[in-house]
Symmetry: C2
Subunit: 237 residues, 2 copies
Amino acid sequence: MVLLSGGLDSATVLALAREQGFACHCLSFDYGQRHRVELAAAELVARAGGASSWRTAMLDLRAFGGSALTAELAVPKDRSHEAMGADIPLTYVPARNTIFLAFALGLAEVNQSRALFFGANAVDYSGYPDCRPAFVAAFEELANLATKLGVTAATPAERIRVHAPLIGLSKAQIVREGTRLGVDYALTWSCYDPVPAGDGQGRHGPWAACGRCDSCALRRRGFVEAGVPDPTRYVAR
Amino acid sequence: MVLLSGGLDSATVLALAREQGFACHCLSFDYGQRHRVELAAAELVARAGGASSWRTAMLDLRAFGGSALTAELAVPKDRSHEAMGADIPLTYVPARNTIFLAFALGLAEVNQSRALFFGANAVDYSGYPDCRPAFVAAFEELANLATKLGVTAATPAERIRVHAPLIGLSKAQIVREGTRLGVDYALTWSCYDPVPAGDGQGRHGPWAACGRCDSCALRRRGFVEAGVPDPTRYVAR
C-alpha cells in the first residue's frame, strides 16, 4: 500500500517501493483540498510508476475546518526556510496523516498487505508533527495491535511495517534519488495554491504552481540544491 | 469528543463523561453499515444524554469490503458465548476503530479538546483486536505525537487522553452503570442485522433487533445478568 498524493515525495516513494520488488497498490485522498489537481497528478504518477492499482478515497475533512489547505484561509506565501521549520503552519490539516494511514491500514488488511509506504519527510517537513520518525514508529506499533493481520502475525517478519524511506532525506536528496530511479517529476504536483495559467498546455491542464507557498519553495530549493532541472511550471519566478 | 455509535456501550460512555463534568461533542459515522438505523438512535441518545453537539461523518468503508457489517456477507447468528470470544468474526471491519479515533482526533484538535471517550470493551468484546487496552494505549501515544495539540502540551495534564471507561466491564456491569446514571436504553441500538417489524410503533420506527447476531446475544445476556429489564424489541425471542 502506497500513500500517493501525486507530489514529489510520494512519486519517489512509489519508485523506491517498486525498486524493492513490491507490487504497489496506491491510495489517494479527495479530502476537499484546494489543490485537487494533485489527484490527476497522482493518477499520472501511478500509471507511469508501474502501480498495480490506484484508487481515491473520499474523506470530507472540510467539516473540520482549521486548515488553509481545506478552509477558506489564505495559504502562507514567501516564508523563509527558517520560518517554515519554526512552527506548525496554517496548512496543517488536523490529524491528516493519522487518518490517511488508518485508511491505508484498513485497505492493507483487506489486501493482506503488510507493507505501508508513506512519504513522510522530517528534514524539510514544514513543521508538521505527523511527519516525524516518532509518529511513524507509533503508527506501526498501533497497526500491529489494531488489526487481525497484525495480531495474528506469527513471526516478526509477518508484522505490519510502515516504511517511510524519505524520512531522513533532504528534498535535494529525494530529487536525486527519484532522478536515479527515472521518476518523471513533470507529472507530479506540489503546490498548495494552484494558479490558472491560461493556455492549458502543461501536464496539469490549465494549472500552474504558485511558486511561493511553502510546498513550492521547498520543491524549488530541492531541485536547485540537487542540481537537477526543475520541470515545474511556476507562475512566479 | 465522544464516539457515539448509538449502541448500549457508547450511550453509557456519554453518561459517564457527562457525570465527570465534560461538555460532550459527539461524533457518529455513516460508513455504509447495514444497520444504519443506529445513526437515528445515536441522535436520540445524544439529545437525551445532554450532548453539546452531535455530528455524523461520512466514510465510505464499503470500498474496503471484507466485513459482514458493510459487505453482502451474512451476519453470523446463534453463536455461543465461547465461539464469540474464540476468533475474530466476519463482522470485524478492517481498522475501523483506528479510522474512527483518527477522525475524532482531528475534530478534537480543531475543538482544542484533550479528551476522547470511546466505548471499547475488552470483556465481551466479540474478538475485535481494536477493543483491547493495548490498542487504546497505543492510540493515546500516537495522538500525542500526531497533533499540534499533543506536541505542544506543556504538562502531563495537557496531554490528549483516550478514555475507555468500559474496557474492564462486563456487559452486565455496563448495563448496571448506565441504569444508575439514568440512561434510557430503549433509545439505543445494538443489532447488526435489523429486521422489518411492520408496525412502526417502536422507538426505531419499522425496525426490530434480530435477537440472534453476536451484538444482540451480548446485549440480551447483559440485561439478564444485570437483572435489569431489557427494553429492546427483538424479533426472535
